[in-house]
Chain length 403, copies 2
C-alpha cells in the first residue's frame, strides 16, 4: 500500500542532521543526529522484549541521569543480541558525539535498527558524525525520516499545528517500521516533538496515553522487536505558557495532537507493512474487559488463515469465526456473537445471517481498507487493533532480507 | 515435503468403506464409513475451539449415550458455522445410515472437514451411502485415508504390530490435516484402531496420554480448527486378554503403540503442512514448568519471521532470540539463555557464542529436518513442539483455497 507523507511543520528548538555512514546500505543516509534545545524535556517508552538491544539499555540508563541533548540514531544494524560488546559500542558512539559537541556522554540517547546479532561498526559511524552535525537544520525531518528506514518503502512523517488562546504550537513526529511489528509499549522507532514547554511527568503521561491506541494497537506479524522505542520531546520554544497541570486546557490540546500524530504514524506503519495490500481494522465490542476485547482482536489479526484470505479479498468468514472460537475467552456464548464485515452482518445466532449474500461480503473485501467487527454480547468493553494482510510478498521480503 | 505412507496392517473388527458423494470435489472419494465390531469400545477427544462444528457437538452427545457402531466421515464441507441447520444436517446424515443398517441414530458418530459456513449437502451424502457400505472391507484403510484429505497432498496412515506373551495385537491409525493446524486436544481428524479389548476409561486415558506429545504438540499456522477430532477404538478381536487394569503390561504396550502411531501421524501432518519445505523441532529445556517451556516453544514456532527464515534456510538467529524475548516468561535472565541449531551453539552469555561461524549455522539450516534448541537456565522442565516453515506456497494455497 502507498503511504502519503504530508508536508511536515518544523518544530522550534529541534534540529536534525543526517549522513551516509555506510553501516550496511550503500548510497543512502543511515545516520541521524537530533539536537534538542537546552531546557527541553523528554519522555520515552521502550520495548518489553527481554532480549532488548544494547542502545535500549543505554538510552534507558541515560534518561535516568539527565535531560537529553542529542538523539543518535542509525539504521542497518540493530546492535541487538551483541552482549557486552554491543553495550560498549553504543556507549562509544555516544562518546564520539559528546567529544565533538562538548557535552556529557549521558546527554545522548542512542537508537539502532536493522540486522540483529552483528557488531555495530562504531568507527564508520563516528567518521560520519561531522557530516551529520554540519547538516543540522530545523527542516531536516524528511531526510531524517528517510535515513531511519530499513524495509520501509516510504518515510513516515506527520504534523499538527494547534491554535490556542495564548498562541500556537506544533507537534511533528516521524517513525520507521514495516516488519517485526507488534509493538509492546512502543513501535520500532518513533520520534515526536513539540515546541510546547511541558514538565517531564506530564510529558511521560501524554506519551503513554498516546501510544496505547496507536503504536500499541498495531501488528504486522506479531513479532515484537528488540529495538522498539518511542520518544516524545518538548522544547518550550513555542512562546506558549509552560504546561504543568494535567487539568490545563493546553495539556488536553497537546495530548490530542500527540495522539493524533501517533495514530497517523502507527497506521502508516501498518499500511507500509511488509508486503501489505490492505489496511484492516479489527474492532471487538461488548466484551467483558478491554483485555478480553484485545485478546480476540489480536487472535484474528494474527491468524495466518484470516490474513491470507484478506490478501485474496476472499470473504472467508469461517476463518474469522474459527479465530474467535480459539481465542482465550471463557464460556463464550456463540449464539450471541455477531460478525460484521464493514456494515454487512455475516453471522448471528450461531450461524450465517439470513440476509447475507456472498456478493455483499465480496464488495467489502474488495476495498483497500477493511473493517472486521465482532460483537461478543458479554459486556461493554471494546478494543480496536490494526493490521494488514499476509501476502506472498511478505514471505519473499523476509526470506530474502536479513533483519 | 514428501510423506511416506508405509504399508498398513488391517485391524480385525474394523471395516472401512468409501464412496464419491460429490460433496465438493469431483472425481474422488469424499465419504467414509467405518464399521466397528459389536462390543468395541471407543475413546475420543475433540477441539476446544468454542465455535466447534455441528458434527463435533453431535458426536460428543452420541458418545455419552451408547457404544458407537459406525463412524461417518465426509470431506469437502466442515458443517461448521452452520447453526441449527448444521446440527439437523449432521443428525439427518446419521439417520440415513442408521436406516440402511438397522441400528440406532446415536450409535453413529459423524465427522466433517472442509469449507466452513456452507450447508452440508445431506441428500448427496445419503445417496452415496449404499456404495460406501458395499465397499466395507478390512483393507479399506488407504482408500479411506485418501477420502478424508482436503489440502493434504498425501494420505497419512501408520501401523504397529506388537508382540506379547499372550499373543499379538495391532494398532493402525489414519489422519488428515495440512492447514488450520494447531490442535488443541486433537488434530483435524485422526482415527486409531486396535484389535485389543480395552475398557472405556483406560482407552480414554491411553488416548489422552498419546495426543499430548503428538497432535497437541504440532502447529502449522497456529490456527485451531473448528472440527478437530481424534478417535481411538478397540475391537477386542486380537485374541489377547481384555485390558482392564492400568498396571497391565499389555496396557503399557498398547499406550506405547498408540503414542507411537499418533506421533507418526502428527509428524506426517507437519511434513505435509501447507507449503512446508522443512520439518522443524523446537525443544525448550531447563524451564520452570512444562507450560513455560511450551509457551517459549510455541512463540518461536508461530513467529512468521522465524518461519520465513527457515524457508530461506537462513540461520537468522536474531529472530529466534527476539521470539524468546517476547514470550511470556517473567524475569528471564538473558545471559543464562543458550540457543542451539542442531548441535551448533549460537548464543550464550547474552550474545553470539565465541566459536560460532555462519558456515556452521548454514549447514544445519540447509537440511530438511531442523532442531532449534533453547536452554532457559531456570529449572528442569522441558517441551518439544513440531512445526514447519512459512513459504510463499502457503500463502498461495490459502489465498486460493476456501477452507
Amino acid at each position: 500500500m502507498t503511504v502519503q507523507s504530508p508536508a511536515f511543520i518544523p518544530v522550534a528548538g529541534v534540529r536534525l542532521g543526517s549522513a551516509a555512514a555506510g553501516i550496511r546500505y550503500r548510497d543512502r543516509r543511515d545516520l541521524v543526529v537530533v539536537e534538542l534545545a537546552a531546557g527541553s524535556t523528554c519522555a520515552a517508552v521502550f520495548t518489553r522484549n527481554q532480549f532488548c538491544a544494547a542502545p535500549v539499555i543505554v538510552a534507558r540508563d541515560h534518561l535516568t541521569r539527565c535531560q537529553p541533548q542529542f538523539l543518535l540514531i542509525n539504521s542497518g544494524n540493530a546492535n541487538a543480541g551483541t552482549g557486552d560488546q554491543g553495550l560498549r559500542g553504543a556507549i562509544e558512539s555516544c562518546r564520539s558525539l559528546a567529544v565533538l559537541r562538548g557535552c556529557q556522554v549521558d546527554q545522548i540517547l542512542p537508537f539502532s535498527t536493522g540486522v540483529i546479532g552483528e557488531r555495530l561498526p562504531v568507527e564508520r559511524l563516528a567518521l560520519a558524525l561531522p557530516e551529520a552535525l554540519s547538516s543540522l537544520n530545523e527542516n531536516g525531518w524528511l531526510d531524517a525520516a528517510r535515513a531511519i528506514m530499513t524495509t520501509d518503502t516510504v518515510p513516515k512523517l506527520f504534523s499538527r499545528r494547534m491554535e490556542y488562546a495564548g498562541g500556537q504550537f506544533t507537534v511533528t513526529g516521524m517513525a520507521k517500521g514495516s516488519g517485526m511489528i507488534r509493538p509492546d509499549m512502543a513501535t520500532m522507532l518513533a520520534y515526536v516533538a513539540t515546541d510546547l514547554a511541558v514538565d517531564n511527568t506530564l510529558l511521560q503521561q501524554c506519551l503513554q496515553r498516546a501510544v496505547a491506541p496507536s503504536f500499541n494497537s498495531i501488528t504486522v506479524d506479531g513479532d515484537t522487536s528488540t529495538n522498539d522505542a518511542c520518544v516524545l520531546f518538548a522544547t518550550g520554544k513555542s512562546g506558549c505558557a509552560r504546561v504543568h497541570e494535567a487539568e490545563d486546557e493546553l495539556y488536553r490540546l497537546l495530548c490530542e495532537a500527540v495522539e493524533s500524530v501517533c495514530m497517523d504514524l502507527a497506521l502508516a506503519i501498518v499500511r507500509d507493512g511488509e508486503g501489505a495490500t490492505k489496511l484492516v481494522s479489527v474492532a471487538v465490542e461488548n466484551a467483558l474487559s478491554p483485555a478480553e476485547a484485545r485478546e480476540v482482536a489480536y487472535t484474528i489479526a494474527h491468524s495466518p488463515l484470516v490474513k491470507t484470505a484478506l490478501f485474496a479479498s476472499d470473504p472467508n468468514w469461517g476463518r474469522i469465526l474459527a479465530a474467535v472460537g480459539r481465542s482465550d475467552v471463557p464460556d463464550l456464548q456463540i449464539n450471541r456473537v455477531e460478525l460484521w464485515l464493514g456494515d454487512v452482518c455475516i453471522v448471528n445466532g450461531g450461524g450465517k445471517s439470513e440476509g447475507y449474500t456472498e456478493a455483499a461480503g465480496q464488495a467489502v473485501m474488495d476495498a483497500e481498507e477493511i473493517l472486521i467487527r465482532v460483537v461478543l454480547g458479554r459486556g461493554t468493553a471494546s478494543a480496536t487493533v490494526y493490521t494488514c494482510d499476509l501476502s506472498s510478498e511478505y514471505v519473499r521480503i523476509n526470506a530474502e532480507y536479513r533483519s
